[in-house]
């Protein structure tokens, strides 16, 4: 009896030991760094060289910078940046769903001979650098570029449009283009896992293809849709390079990430930048927790 208990304890220690290097790594290079952001946000700065002096102990925390940031976010100019960021992200997500759902659905459930080829095409963008793909777009969007030529040729636009002039549609299109591959794949794998017998049962009971989709496939794909959405929303909220790259610094398309970068790398107030990071994390907290909870639940189910 006691040896069995001791044996189990020993095994637990062994498995825990196997996980330890990874856990230690994440504590050293993820948990501590995030705490350091906290310490900078609530710390002081050197009076002459303006470098941060973090407050490591909560006793020394100074909430002045955070207070000011909150004032500016709720009822001030920074609030607009947050609203703009979330609007861009929402529009881009709608774009991802409109494009990504039909594609994922077709490849997962309808494509036949072309399936392998299509799967390869869906995975391919992962192997092409994000910035390479943005570079490709800036090539196309020049005033004398191919987008304007095609639009002119189709008579959709008489005078060439300056796509890179710093307006929001270019940024939203860029975000959709950049992130839709990350949206499609998780959704594809969720759709692919739906039990075909359920769909056939629906058909056998006389439902039309459309109503089978609406009553069976769509509801069953909701968890996959949610996961895919969370996976795309979170990185988009911290994006600051897509808009800068596509509009070369237009105040109309500034996102939260740009303000964070400015305050942390180009200003004398790093605490403000650190406070913005904390605020962004707090606003995204619900989505993050949703992802964690559902993922852990799925893991447990899979391993039972």
């Amino acid at each position: 009896m006691t040896t069995a208990v001791a044996d189990r304890a020993r095994r637990t220690r062994a498995w825990a030991g196997l996980a330890m290097p990874g856990v230690g790594w994440l504590i050293a290079f993820f948990v501590v760094p995030v705490y350091a952001v906290l310490a900078v946000a609530f710390g002081q700065i050197d009076p002459i060289l303006r470098t941060p002096q973090p407050a490591w102990s909560p006793v020394d925390w100074d909430f002045a910078a955070m207070g000011k940031v909150l004032d500016r976010v709720f009822g001030g100019d920074l609030g607009r940046v947050f609203i703009r960021t979330f609007s861009f992200v929402a529009l881009a997500l709608i774009g991802c769903i409109l494009i990504g759902y039909p594609v994922a659905y077709f490849v997962a459930r309808r494509a036949q001979r072309s399936r392998g080829l299509l799967l390869a095409a869906l995975v391919l963008p992962f192997w092409i650098s994000y910035l390479m793909r943005m570079l490709a777009w800036t090539n196309l969007l020049q005033v004398d570029g191919y987008v304007n030529r095609v639009l002119g040729w189709l008579h959709l636009m008489d005078t060439p449009r300056n796509w890179l002039d710093g307006d929001w549609p270019t940024v939203v299109i860029g975000l959709v283009y950049g992130y839709v591959p990350f949206f499609i794949l998780p959704l594809y794998s969720a759709l692919e896992r739906i039990d075909g017998r359920l769909i056939e049962a629906g058909r056998d009971l006389g439902a039309s293809a459309f109503s089978t989709f609406m009553r069976i496939t769509l509801p069953l794909s909701v968890p996959g849709l949610m996961a895919a959405s969370v996976i795309t929303i979170l990185p988009m909220c911290g994006d600051y390079y897509t808009n800068t790259y596509l509009t070369s610094g237009s105040p109309r398309t500034e996102m939260v990430g740009n303000q964070i970068e400015f305050y942390l790398r180009g200003s004398s107030q790093p605490q403000t930048g650190a406070s913005l990071v904390l605020l962004l994390m707090a606003l995204l907290f619900v989505l993050m927790v949703y992802y964690l909870v559902t993922t852990i639940r799925q893991q447990k189910a899979a391993e039972r």
Binding site: R109, R133, L140
Partner: protein, 285 residues
């Protein structure tokens, strides 16, 4: 790969949308590749073909511009080292987390997942702050970038491996144990070979993620000697740029695709089954 498939009726519209999407997602890249062969400086239109931006131009071609090959070399070195560190640590962590049933295991599990859902800018800022404030002894540049990339990619490895572990179950190891293998032997001789395809998938995902990373590399870059290809492309849009940038991106693209194709061949040799595209991205579960 495919158990059942809805075969009721054809879906011409869906097919059209899908193929249009494929065209839309890949055509711009093909055009960018074509522009890299321009003989002139235009980055918007096709010009007569030449290798000027690869090797012809004596100062600013990929072959002759030191800054460009340095960026390429840095990117590959970073990605290679990152693979070598993140994969073993991640595999061990996945096996450990899957079997460790202690009070703390849930916490460790959650901790492992958080990096996946953390916006990269948070990562970049946090690492930047910690390396300038706390770990000041760590040499800046490549070392800090590497530590950052490993942290960022570790969780992907764990997720991919765990998905595979769940699929394998523990009956194979049990069988080996029944036949007299020690726990360690069972793991080494049975489990690890079974994990082969997933380990390959992890290596590739880590490689692709590291090669692609801009935010962390940029926050932790200490200058020209630590610039990577994405940093070059990003700052190239701001500084005067030529199709040499397209050429650089094209070389990297070819490099990555060849690496992926080779890895794919090896995987096929190992007769894998069950791992779809989802595990390739690590986001499927």
């Amino acid at each position: 790969m495919s158990r059942q498939r809805g075969t009721h009726g054809r879906a011409p519209w869906l097919a059209l949308v899908t193929w249009l999407y494929v065209l839309w997602s890949l055509l711009p890249v093909l055009i960018a590749v074509r522009i890299s062969f321009n003989s002139g400086k235009s980055r918007s239109t096709f010009q007569p073909m030449s290798l000027r931006w690869y090797s012809g131009d004596a100062t600013s071609s990929v072959w002759h511009d030191d800054a460009l090959h340095l960026a390429m070399f840095n990117t590959l070195k970073l990605a290679g080292l990152c693979m070598l560190i993140a994969t073993p640590v991640g595999v061990a962590m996945a096996i450990g987390l899957q079997r460790w049933r202690g009070k703390l295991s849930n916490g460790a599990n959650g901790l492992m997942l958080i990096p996946i859902v953390t916006p990269e800018i948070v990562f970049g800022v946090a690492l930047f702050v910690v390396f300038t404030q706390v770990y000041t002894g760590v040499p800046g540049g490549l070392t800090t970038q590497l530590l950052g990339h490993v942290t960022f990619t570790l969780s992907f490895v764990v997720v991919i491996i765990r998905a595979r572990l769940a699929a394998i179950g523990d009956q194979y190891e049990e069988a080996a144990r029944d036949l007299g293998a020690s726990r360690l032997q069972a793991m080494r001789l049975v489990l690890l070979p079974l994990l082969g395809p997933a380990i390959f998938a992890s290596l590739m995902v880590v490689f692709a993620t590291s090669v692609d990373d801009f935010v962390i590399s940029s926050f932790l870059s200490t200058g020209a000697s630590t610039e990577t290809v994405p940093i070059k492309i990003y700052s190239g849009a701001r500084a005067g740029s030529t199709p040499a940038l397209n050429a650089l991106a094209t070389v990297m693209l070819v490099f990555t695709l060849v690496a992926v194709a080779l890895a794919g061949l090896v995987m096929r040799r190992m007769r894998h089954h069950g791992d779809g595209a989802a595990s390739l991205t690590g986001l499927g579960t």
